[in-house]
Amino acid sequence: MTRTQVIVGRLLVLIIGLLFWQFAAGDLVPGVRLVDPFFISSPTRIAVDLRKGFADGILLRDVGITLLESFGGLVIGMVTGIAAGLAFGMWRPLELIAEPFMSALNALPRPAIAPLMVLWLGIGLASKVVLAWSLVFFLVFYNTYLGVKTIDQDIINAMRVMRASPAQLIRIVIFPSVFSWIFAALRLSVSYALIGAIIGEFVGATAGIGYQLIAAEGLLQTDRVYSALILVGIIAVLLTTLAKMLENRILKWRPPVSV
């Protein structure tokens, strides 16, 4: 398939989907509807609500706050995850002793600990950053750790025979090798950070997309619920595309992977 065909195909799916939605909600053909728009809203209703929301500045502010929380969690998660992953991969006693605890911590369902975080850190930014961090950290940690573990032993041996010092080994082989794993984690990390922040906002917040969602659900404002969901979707797609572009640029030595 050519690139144009793919894009045209995607647009067609989108348009047909939207038209059907509009039709089902009774906003396309007057008098014919399948479901009450109170439950499913409709594309035009959402568009109107989005315009209103952005016009009075509420949605823009919320998008900004959610992005800030996610970004904070992302950055701190990357830094701490890389550090912990390198430590685990390179220092065997730590790996042996602490690995089960890492697995256990990672298995905690974040929605279950979100109320605790809000209790400890308040309803402000901090609790959301920590929740976003708690997802990003483990993703980056495991990728870095695996990256160190799976370095080609032949390369290490060749370097050792050529008398590479430990510092040279880290600089020439280990860092660049782990780098690719970290970037592979970046794309997922971006959406995980967003999820973490939004879970935090569900539980206790005064602003953010997640807060808008939960508030609108409480007030049965279906249009606003859908607006918020669509915003989250758009942000996630934009951020992951950005991460993917960055990844392809920096990891241009890899064989191209489609997806």
Partner: protein, 269 residues
Amino acid sequence: MNGADTPAQPSSLPALIEARNFSVTFGPSRLVALKGVNLSVHAGEIVVLVGPSGCGKTTFLNSVCGLLPPGAELSGTLTVAQNVRLGYMPQRDALLPWRTVLGNVEVGPELRGLSRSQRRAKAEPLIELVGLSQFRNHYPHELSGGMRQRVSLARTLAYEPDVILMDEPFAALDAFNRTALQEEILRINDKARLTVLFITHDLSEALVLGRRVAVMSSQPGHVVEIHSVDLPEPRSATKLRGTDAFLRLFQKLWNELMAESDPTKRREA
């Protein structure tokens, strides 16, 4: 005269690697991987260790490199001359996938602590030498197996080793590329005398490249015989194979290997 160095070796140059009655035993099962190996590699010669898989060739090479697994027990002596730089070329190319051809070849000089411009100056002519100038900015995944092994060769040479250890470096290549790379080694060797310890299970490769060929057998791994290969120089991997002298030697070593691997005919040690 099991495993003894033949007096046919008149080299006056010093031995860079020398094994005397060298044995290696592995693990709790005390598996004897090498038993009483006597072998030396002198400056400016290509020594080939040939034998079937599992006869301990790689164990010997790894002993020289210092890559034996922990728990290996050694006896006898294995000396590597002081301040000898070892180059290492494994069967899999072991290139850094995130570096271009140029970047990979520069690793050799980089490990020796040379500056960026010196690295470039060392790497460029070697890339030229292995015929990859057009590909200097390509990444390993964009190259064929034969080209990657050429890069690996250039990287090894760029390190300017005193001895190059090659562990079946062409075994994974197709017949065409294998011959081409053997030709390459011979050509480079004609220009600048290389010192190589080469391991292979391919007898004809051993005879094409080796000035001395040590035939090894297994259980336990030992050197059966060391042959001097007096074939006309300069050698050519393609032409040599058809000559009578080559075929006679091939037959002789082949019989030797067969006799060793057939337990009913095994000579008394």
